[in-house]
């Protein structure tokens, strides 16, 4: 007899056989071949859970190719949904339950340490007796291997059940699986139906009806056949919230900021922000321009900014590399510009769909010469919404490029936050077309702050030629040596002036102790969760999160000085302190650590990696324990 026969057999349950287990949180993954709709099912399940009052964080599992080979370990596509009876801030540790449409996607997740050793697995069983002997063999061998583990595997006749409703079960299995999950996690079936109506609203009743049937079938099957059921109590929601991912939040933030022009070139993982913007921007008079390349996109945005309101260009790391020369120009000619960089793994083409925070130093320093710019990093999905609004204002007030560093983790991660209330002051004022006073120059740098008012085309008496050459107050090409020195000082002073408006970030936890962990960007949630857990274990550890990386607020050095050890946790490359080949003469630090060391002359250490995955809370906890033992 095959070993697989020994696995948990699924058979109808007798009444009362099923006990509902109360849980504080669970991590669910649903994985399939690309195009089988696991992502849609995952997102819908996340939304249903959020609407039932659970804290959620969802993140997409994305293969690098559009059509990776089917049934492959690396081609798995899907969603991870972390659900809790408390506010969830990150994707968490390993999965507790995995729905897999084939055993190879499952093996891929298992072998990359993304599943708990005793996780529950719901696996499509159609491969067991597949007509192709190769596939049949692969399935049975895969299952044999997994049967040696502690996983609780249930083989589920997903397609067989779907075939009772639709002709092509490959397109519909996802909603069947959603029904199954709704049963397992005791979700309200009507809420699930509503979510399907919302998901397929554009496609109409013809698509909605069979999908609801599939949902109900999956639900009923799980009710009758699975011997377990969970409930994760609601965390409760006091105010109205919205649930969306970081790229959608960025796009909505652009609309809310009153910016009119977004120039972009398609690049993963930033493009979905522009997709969403393309859908709605026209309703507010905006335009999304897909330029011929990244350089043109930046130049187009600079042109639009020069001629009126601040514009935005949305890209990812490789695109930012290309835009470099234009950003130098924007800094030099003092043209406001918002630059969104949804970071991915680098260098070069790197890991296009994976998370990394590797572009911090690049953002600060990538232009030749000294080109001041402001760099901010949203830490939550909510930050992604407000970042463009704030960035637009700063860019116009300080006449310089403002970078927003998001990343692949925020881009596809979904998290609810309080529904924003639109404010008139978010929006840029109309173009000033009033005459320019005779004594006003294009760069009337304020002696103390370096600030000056912008003159835009159409203002009578304001004619001047803007240039990337060193220039004087009148925007005339500088031939005297002192003009360049003077103008550079003024442009630098703007950063210093902006710095004075920043508030000192708050320490999470005790204000002094053994260890301070510093992070930036999307790692806020995971770092704080790990720090809280370590504190509960009795360790003296706190954390600090920076949202403004250039310039940095005052008071940070004083915070750092209160701790015996200070280190950053980042998703970018650094040489490991454990490797004895590295010493203080050759070790390379992670992005933020290098910045902090340089600015504060404090021995800031770092712990970072480039696995291309969100950091798991327990890996930080392990690291803290190792350091403080």
């Amino acid at each position: 007899m095959d070993k697989v026969e020994a696995l948990a057999k699924v058979s109808p349950l007798a009444a009362g056989e099923k006990k509902k287990v109360l849980l504080k949180e669970h991590i669910i993954e649903i994985v399939s071949d690309a195009g089988e709709g696991a992502q849609k099912a995952g997102q819908a399940f996340g939304a249903i859970s959020a609407k039932s009052g659970n804290g959620i964080w969802t993140v997409e599992i994305i293969p690098a190719e559009i059509q990776p080979p089917p049934r492959s370990k690396v081609g798995g596509s899907g969603n991870r949904i972390r659900i809790g009876s408390f506010y969830i801030t990150n994707a968490g540790d390993e999965a507790d339950l995995v729905v897999a449409f084939n055993e190879q996607s499952l093996l891929g997740r298992f072998e990359s340490d993304n599943m708990k050793p005793n996780a529950i697995v719901l696996l499509e069983d159609k491969w067991r007796d597949h007509a192709d002997p190769e596939i049949k063999k692969m399935y049975r061998e895969g299952l044999d291997e997994l049967s040696k583990t502690k996983l609780r595997i249930y083989e589920v006749p997903m397609e067989k059940e779907c075939l009772k409703i639709v002709q092509n079960p490959q397109r519909g299995k996802n909603m069947w699986a959603l029904g199954m999950l709704c049963s397992i996690y005791s979700r309200d079936l009507e809420a699930a139906r509503n979510e399907i109506r919302l998901t397929f609203a554009k496609k109409g009743e013809k698509v909605i009806a069979p999908n609801i049937q599939l949902l109900e079938s999956g639900y009923a099957w799980a009710e009758e056949n699975l011997d377990f059921k969970f409930e994760i109590p609601s965390a409760g929601i006091k105010d109205r919230q919205i649930v969306l991912n970081g790229n959608t939040a960025l796009a909505l933030g652009v609309v809310a900021s009153g910016m009119d022009v977004c120039a972009m070139y398609p690049i993963t993982p930033a493009t979905s922000a522009s997709h969403y913007l393309s859908e709605i921007f026209e309703h507010v008079g905006g335009v999304v321009h897909q330029a011929e390349d990244e350089i043109a996109a930046a130049a187009f945005a600079v042109g639009a900014s020069y001629a009126g309101k601040c514009a935005v260009t949305i890209t990812s790391g490789p695109g930012l590399s290309l835009k470099t020369e234009v950003l130098g120009l924007a800094s030099m000619a003092e043209i406001p510009l918002v630059v969104v960089n949804v970071q991915r793994g680098g260098p070069s083409t790197g890991l296009p769909t994976k998370v990394e925070q590797g572009d911090l130093l690049m953002s600060l320093f990538h232009t030749h010469g000294d080109a001041p710019k402001i760099v901010m990093a949203p830490a939550t999905i909510e930050d992604c919404f407000y970042a463009p609004i704030t960035a637009r204002k700063i860019a116009e007030t300080f006449r310089m490029p403002v970078y927003i560093l998001s990343d692949a983790n925020l881009a596809t991660g979904q998290q609810p936050f309080m529904k924003p209330e639109f404010k008139e002051e978010w929006v840029a004022p109309p173009f000033d077309q009033s005459p320019v006073p005779e004594d006003m120059a294009p760069y009337d740098w304020d002696e103390e702050t370096g600030l000056s008012s912008r003159i835009i085309p159409g203002q009578p008496g304001g004619m001047h030629t803007l240039t990337g050459l060193a220039h004087s107050r009148e925007s005339k090409v500088a031939y005297d040596p002192w003009i360049n020195q003077f103008a550079m000082e003024k442009r630098s002073k703007k950063l210093a002036a902006f710095q004075k408006t920043l508030q000192t970030p708050k320490v999470h936890g005790d204000k002094k102790g053994d260890l301070l962990i510093i992070g930036w960007g999307s790692t806020l949630g995971v770092i704080e969760e790990a720090v809280d857990a370590a504190c509960e274990k009795g360790y003296s550890v706190s954390s600090l999160h920076l949202k403004y990386l250039q310039p940095m607020a005052s008071g940070i050095k004083e915070i750092l000085q209160q701790f015996k050890q200070v280190m950053t946790v980042e998703i970018n490359y650094s040489d490991s302190y454990k490797d004895k080949f590295f010493d203080e003469n050759n070790r390379r630090y992670s992005n933020l650590a290098l910045l902090l060391r340089a600015r504060y002359l404090i021995d800031v250490d770092c712990w970072s990696n480039v696995f291309g995955q969100p950091i798991k809370p327990h890996s930080i906890i392990d690291m803290i324990e190792e350091r403080l033992k």
Binding site: Y87, S234, I237, Q241, I242, T248, L252, G285, V302, V427
Partner: protein
């Protein structure tokens, strides 16, 4: 505010702008440089069309010719090498009230910014682009250009350029959505003025290839074109109608219909004569900035509604239980 609409179309006071108002700094081009003559023609056009200086923007790249905006009394944007076109497109996209002109050299247009050139033709935005083609890199001191003739000895091709040059006219006429292509030599100011004027009045992207002398590095490059018999005057009732004097001086004429793209392409390939005039014109090509033009006045209320609609699709209503999280 001041009764302006969002496209900034405000009525300006009646003023007469003199030629001097379109002049700015004294040009620092070499004596005899063809750029001087282009500048004069353009300033004359601005005066004759009475373009409000604050509503007129000259955008350039980097190179000798790209100093152009500094010498105009209008607004100007002296940008980046090769990037004049995308900057100009960005300027125009939300400012239909501005007249936008682009001045680029052959390095800008045909080398480092080639992609932008191709796509600018395709976008067909309302602007006039002048390619000052002297077939040599001047500002960086005598390097070969993609438009340099085969065999040209320069600092980077000491034994002569091995390759045949790119032909800006042929390339432009080969791009879909092309809508206006003209050619002139800068030593023919009257023709140049007429062509820039026709380009200005064209709806869409007007590309003017200006053959321009560089007296400093290649003083004899265009000697063969200085003879009136080297010029082929393109005349047509829908094109240029030059003066009797001009037609007497330049005796080679062709009655060329600017809507004839095939003939335009043949003319562009001509080696023996320099065709001067409008090679191609088509007013019926989609104009990108018109297509993308703001459809209506947008109020804050409308912006708020768009956001509210978006939020409502992803809304979570309050739910009891737990301690609640905001």
């Amino acid at each position: 505010m001041f009764g302006i609409n969002q496209n900034c179309e405000i009525a300006l006071p009646d003023t007469y702008y003199t030629l001097e108002e379109y002049q700015s700094n004294v040009p620092r081009w070499c004596p005899g440089c063809g750029d001087n003559s282009i500048l004069t023609s353009v300033q004359r056009l601005c005066r004759d069309e009475q373009l409000a200086p604050e509503k007129t923007v000259f955008v350039s790249g980097i190179g000798c010719s790209s100093r152009f905006p500094h010498y105009m009394g209008t607004d100007g944007f002296h940008g980046l090498h090769g990037r004049a076109l995308p900057i100009a497109e960005g300027i125009k996209i939300r400012r239909p009230d501005l007249d936008v002109f682009v001045n680029m050299g052959d390095g800008d247009c045909c080398s480092i910014g080639t992609a932008h050139w191709i796509h600018a033709v395709r976008y067909n935005m309302n602007m006039v682009a002048m390619l000052h083609n002297n077939e040599i890199y001047g500002l960086t001191k005598l390097q070969v250009s993609p438009t340099s003739p085969q065999g040209l000895v320069t600092n980077t091709t000491p034994t002569g350029s091995p390759l045949k040059p790119i032909k800006p006219l042929s390339v432009t006429l080969g791009i879909s959505n092309v809508s206006f292509v003209a050619q002139v030599g800068e030593w023919m100011p009257e023709m140049m003025y007429d062509i820039i004027k026709a380009a200005y009045h064209h709806r869409g992207f007007s590309f003017i290839h200006i053959v321009q002398r560089c007296p400093h590095f290649t003083p004899h490059m265009f000697d063969h074109l200085m003879q009136p018999e080297s010029i082929l005057m393109l005349q047509h009732e829908d094109g240029l109608n030059s003066s009797e004097t001009m037609l007497k001086t330049f005796k080679n004429h062709e009655n060329h219909d600017p809507s004839n793209l095939n003939r335009a392409r043949e003319l562009a390939e001509k080696e023996d004569l320099l065709p001067v005039g409008i090679l191609y014109r088509n007013e019926n090509v989609e104009v990108y900035d018109d297509a993308k033009r703001r459809k209506r006045f947008v109020t804050s209320e409308m912006r708020k509604n768009v956001l509210e609609n978006a939020f409502n699709k992803i809304l979570i209503e309050p739910v009891s239980g737990g301690n609640g999280h905001a």
